[in-house]
Amino acid sequence: MAEYQIRRCDRHLTGGIHPETHKQLSTAEPCVFVETPTRLLFPIHFSGGGPGEALVRVGDPVAKGTPIIRCQSGIVHVASRAGTVLEVTDHAMAHPSSERSACIVIEPDGLDRQDYLSPINWPFDAETLRERAIEAGILGLGGAGFPSFKKWSNRTQTLIINAAECEPYLTADDTLIRIDTHSMIRGACLLSRTLDIQTIVIGIEDNKPEALQAIECALKESRSDCFFDIVLLDTKYPSGSARQLVWLTLGIEVPTGSRSVEAGVIVHNPGTLAALSRAIDGKPITDRIVTLTGESFTRPKNVIAPIGTPISHLIAATDTNPQSLHSVIIGGPMMGYRVTDFSAGITKTTNCLLAREVEVQPESPCIRCGACATACPVRLQPQQMVAALKGDALNRAIHEGLGDCIECAACNAVCPSNIPLAEWFRRGRFEMKERAREHQQASDARDRFEARNTRLERLAQEQEAKRAARKAKSADALNKARKAREEIS
């Protein structure tokens, strides 16, 4: 039995909100596998892990687990079912930009051909584990899709399992913890052993008693020598945001501009750890749990779906006609984004499809009431930031702390003027990053230009020196010859 303790979190989130959770909507039905769809779609550049390149060509046969995309970060995405590559074409995708981009389309053949990696056996070192995570395509399954191996530093003291799942409606993590507890615990333990982490913290909101019970049972059966510190959090949005969770569970404020890794903490989603555990056994990520929820679905539930399954196929899995819906939200009501083209395939970061009718209230002017500032978990002054952004003063918004915004959208939820503050901040932050990137590129270009100039100058000088030396040498030789001639004569 692994040692563990359960404690109630003694810190309280500054700001935050208590939205209706609507979680029971999707937990009433059991989690089931969906039937394999007739098409699977994999965006080459937007599957998570950065832009990628296709490793297969049209007509290639693939097995379940065959690598099909390799991303810039190294991450490999695999075919989630056996079949044939039908085409590589521009297609709608599940991405906030709602643009079309190159996708690999696979037609599953219903056969059970597998192309898995060979299992790696304990003991292994961090480098082996990193390589395995890359080959198995492990990235943050909580929604951000950050390549997991990049977080694994040897200076880490604590691993936090982010089981808070504070976003309303979502129950994918809750479901995973309940049905796949052992994998999650095993993944956490193996990662901790490899990185020499002593404590594993599980941050879980107090509205998930079944998941907590499942964790307890699994820990009692586990033979790990890691210490598990289970922290019960108040059910308050956004306690599951990484920075907020690190502070709530450990009391560490991750400094602005750095990641929690730099503070010696790794935060992982339960699904990521379970996937890591399977990757060690050789199975790359081919499926994930997706919450299908919202009042517009006939039978909301959680499903296990192959990566790349079209959204329409999942909608149909809830006994709902896809044609009856105008749009669904991917993610949750707070941080999700709207998708209208249901032919797009889900990716590894698609944790939820939410379908509900929301009456959009007309926006009215900001009266600076400060409700958003009260709700902000980072203690920003959103009313000031949005005023700056609306006035096209990006620098002023950055001065007010735009860079610290976690885009949780708690401000949206409390604004009496129905101002879409979070959308402004998302756009502003995007522009901010673009500007920083351009700035970086410009300074890189300048550096390159200067380096080239010095190099050319150096070459010129060298050549000049060589020429001078040659000249001196020939003059010398001439002199010598002349002298010799004089001597002879």
Binding site: S364, R368, A371, A375, L394, R396, V414, P416
Partner: protein, 339 residues
């Protein structure tokens, strides 16, 4: 049992409506002690405010209906009507309200854009333009006019029988020669049921109740009223150690518009400071200025001028009272990122 909401109202319309509801006890108390003139002022101001708003929106090619129905301009009108002398003639109310809405609000871009409190701008403008009317038409609560007399005052024929200066002015001009005990003999103080000032004390109490309800509803935060009232209390307590030579604490708090302003005027979020700490400093600033102007200035009450001055200081207060952002060593101070 009324449940305390966890958040302020979720719509601007509801925020404004809550403030209007909270003003009701004060309006009732004022009508009881100062006569029907209060209601006439209110009606005039509300109609003027709505018409001015509609006119401005039309001239600015904005949709009229959403702004007229969000109660914000009605609130401006009500706040002005309650600030004006109770025996004010119709033109005074109309002029004050129209300048508040047109000059104070729409010249700057309408709801949410005004740098200063529109109601106080309208009040101050009229106070400077029509000082006599603004200083002599206050009703003596011991002798309020009947409906007919109130109507006569409204159409421009006030009677000296029931009008005069405000208590605060009275105390500062007429009673300055008297000792505190002698001043206390004045019927206004001698007849007071609560022991302060006849009529005014009930009005102040009514506004206090409305204001506390707003606090309870989370429409306003405690920083503003506490900041103003505590500042007035501390300063006046400090300087009125000898009640014979200085206006005592309770006159500062009960007479004048102190409580009304603390809960309903300074709490205008648009023109005030925005962070909790900023709101506290804003209110403290208004308190200090109010005391200074009341004591050394020429005008009967000082809240309007103090609020206007602090409105201009609000952006600077905002720059220096930002909360410390999570993950930062210290809060960001000062303006920045202007380029």
């Amino acid at each position: 049992m009324i449940h305390r909401p966890a958040y302020p109202p979720r719509e601007t319309r509801l925020v404004m409506r809550s403030v209007l509801i909270a003003l009701l006890p004060g309006i009732v108390a004022m009508s009881l002690f100062f006569g029907a003139g209060v209601l006439l002022n209110l009606a005039t101001a509300i109609v003027t405010a709505l018409l001015s708003e509609a006119l401005c929106l039309k001239l600015r090619h904005r949709s009229i209906q959403p702004r007229l129905s969000d109660w914000s301009v009605v609130l401006t009108g009500v706040l002005i009507a309650l600030s004006l002398p109770q025996a004010a003639p119709w033109w005074l109310t109309i002029a004050a309200t129209a300048s508040a809405v047109i000059l104070g609000k729409h010249l700057y871009g309408g709801l949410g854009q005004n740098p200063v409190n529109p109601a106080m701008l309208g009040y101050a403008l009229i106070l400077i333009s029509a000082p006599v009317a603004m200083t002599t038409l206050w009703i003596n609560p011991l002798n309020p006019p009947d409906v007919e007399a109130a109507w006569m005052a409204f159409i421009g024929n006030p009677s000296d029988a029931y009008t005069g200066a405000t208590t605060l002015e009275l105390y500062q001009s007429e009673f300055s020669a008297l000792t505190a005990l002698e001043a206390k003999q004045h019927p206004l103080f001698a007849n007071a049921q609560l022991g302060f000032i006849y009529g005014y004390e009930w009005v102040a109490l009514a506004y206090l109740i409305g204001g506390l309800w707003l606090l309870y509803q989370r429409v306003i935060s405690w920083h503003t009223p506490v900041g103003l009232l505590a500042t007035l209390l501390v300063i006046s307590a400090f300087f009125s150690v000898d009640p014979d030579t200085a206006t005592p604490v309770w006159v500062h708090l009960i007479a004048g518009a102190s409580i009304f302003a603390a809960f309903f005027i300074l709490t205008d979020p648009v023109s005030g400071a925005t962070s909790p700490k900023g709101r506290l400093w804003f209110a403290i600033g208004v308190g200090v200025l109010t005391y200074i102007i009341r004591t050394y200035g020429q005008y009967p009450d000082a809240i309007a001028f103090s609020v206007l001055m602090m409105n201009f200081a609000a952006p600077m207060i905002d720059h220096y009272t930002r909360p410390r952002i999570m993950g930062r060593e210290a809060s960001i101070k000062g303006p920045g990122g202007q380029s």
